[in-house]
Amino acid sequence: MISIKINDREYQVEEGKTILEAAKEIGIEIPHYCYHPALSIAGNCRMCLVEVKGMPKPMTACSTRVSDGMEIYTDSELVKEARKGVLEFILLDHPVDCPICDKSGECKLQDYYFEHSAQKSRYEFPKERHKVEKISKKIYLNPNRCVLCTRCVRFLREITKTNELTTVERGSHSHIVCVDPEGLDNNPFASNISDICPVGALGLNEFRFKKRVWFTKKVKAICQGCAAGCNIYVDVSNRKQLLDGDDDEIVRIHTAENGKLGQYFICDEGRYSYKLYNDKENRVKAPVLDGEEVDFEKAVEVLKEKANVRKGVVILSPLHSIEENYAAYLFARERGFDVFRPSSFRKDLPEPALFIEEKKSPNDRMLKLMKLPKVSEIEEIDYDFALFLHNVGKVHSKSEVRILSVLKRATFSVVFEPMLTDFGKNANMVLPAPIFVEENGCYINGKNFVQHSNKALDYMYGAKPIWEFLGMDFKSEEEVFIQFAKEQLDKDLNYQKLGTEGFEL
């Protein structure tokens, strides 16, 4: 650790860090466009200029490393003036079409302008205009809004190594072009360039003109698509709109970084998976008993009666949270029922694979950690009671067959799932399970990271956590988690201790 001063206050920081990183850790935000923690340092936007005592010129915080005794000013008159200057330059050719820009509301140009500039432009010349176009099935490019930070170019060059975009020409005529639309279509990570674009130059075709971001609520969650456990933001509508009545649905999924996990991007499959959760048609909308909808009380009563047997089985799910699974596990343990786990569905990795795991479930690791036997080990017995937890997604096809046969042969079978599947269709009773954003939940990813996913929406269509159907006495998701951590991980953990970045086991 070395000692530096920022704005006359002394701090201890790690050697080798840049001024921008060191300041960020202390909680001092230095504005920037081109800097991105996962990309090479470009130093081109000049927004992060700070004053360093003894240096004749302001320095870029993104590229200057801290050294012992360094005295840095991030709010001096020189710095403020430099930021103002950069913002005026960036905005010279910018269309300032915020009313029709989808980035509006989460745009760094807007934010910084209000925070650091707020001056009238002195530029009185015609602006250079380029064509706005769809550069792939998923993405559009509006070069007029571009600030040439080159994050997108660097992402495609350094991370996916696919080079679909590049800057062309030079000087004030420089702009970004796409040389390989097909490549972008096939790039499993292409849509990240919309997230990392700090302004409205790159966006997703399907989000274009769809929603003002201030009519959405942004909630941090864990992607359910595979065992990578990528941190995502789930944006949900936060108010009824006059034109479309769609409320209570996921508007989009985008990247939430997790530096601890080294995850700064998400795959397109995960990003576009939100549509699966908006499938209202197939949603189980109430408890169903022998084909008939019943109310919650009736369901609880029937379950209580049917589960009062000796030979029962509970099959957990790698697609459900720790909380849902562990509640069901405790239910089984109390009654001396067998507990099994299905194998995860697997899918070959795309090229490049970066942050994708073969196992297509978010919580496979939890069931493995508990050393639960696989469903393939179920002996051919006819259970009196069988409960299976299922979710959006799939389990391994061999497990599927096995589970279906258990359900069919059980005297009374129950499936807890949000969307009606063959499992539910072959069960005596179907319970409306919540989708992941309707409750708090934790997941253990393939690298043994326990992470917390936040509730974004209320329980819909009569969905409730499994413990309520099973008549168990938990007051919250967290209570289940605390018990799981104590009993299975031998750890005193709660949501607060997990923090926003999770905990490595």
Partner: protein, 163 residues
């Protein structure tokens, strides 16, 4: 038809390649070579160079558009590049451009209909002591005035000059 380098090209390109430790460093010389061969640097030429060097098209395109000597569209047989930077301008480069516009009936950036001449205004050619200067293809014509420009065009039209 797709563009290609023939055997003799490949041999020459290999000689260039030997000067550098990697393929990327050949981007500029290969583009020069390709421009000489194909006349200008079209998107097809960019793709050919990228393919020959096993480099991303994005890279070669950004290089080709960054440097002014790569002609992104066809140029005439004689590419008249008039320096209009300070030293040449102080000694009448503008008059040379005007004269050429009059003689050729084209504006800077244009090519005559017969494909003989392209007129371009360029930045300092490093010939300020012999200003004003016009570079025709690879050859510098220095200490020019309007009369000399007339003679120059006439000689070029007659094919008397090897440039």
């Amino acid at each position: 038809m797709a563009l290609r380098f023939d055997e003799s090209d490949v041999k020459k390109l290999e000689e260039i390649r030997a000067k550098y430790p990697n393929n990327q460093a050949c981007t500029l010389p290969f583009l020069h070579y390709a421009q000489d061969k194909f006349g200008y640097v079209s998107m097809d030429v960019i793709k050919l160079v990228a393919q020959t060097l096993n480099l991303p098209v994005a890279h070669v395109l950004s290089v080709a558009t960054f440097y002014t000597m790569y002609n992104k569209k066809p140029v005439g047989k004689y590419h008249l590049q008039v320096c209009t930077n300070i030293s040449c301008s102080l000694l009448g480069a503008r008059k040379l451009v005007d004269k050429l516009e009059e003689l050729l009936g084209i504006k800077p950036g244009e090519t005559t209909e017969d494909g003989m001449f392209t007129l371009t205004e360029v930045e300092c050619l490093g010939s300020c002591g012999t200003a004003p200067v016009i570079q025709v293809n690879e050859t510098y014509f220095e200490n020019l005035d309007e009369k000399k420009v007339e003679d120059l065009i006439e000689s070029l039209r007659k094919g008397e000059l090897d440039v």
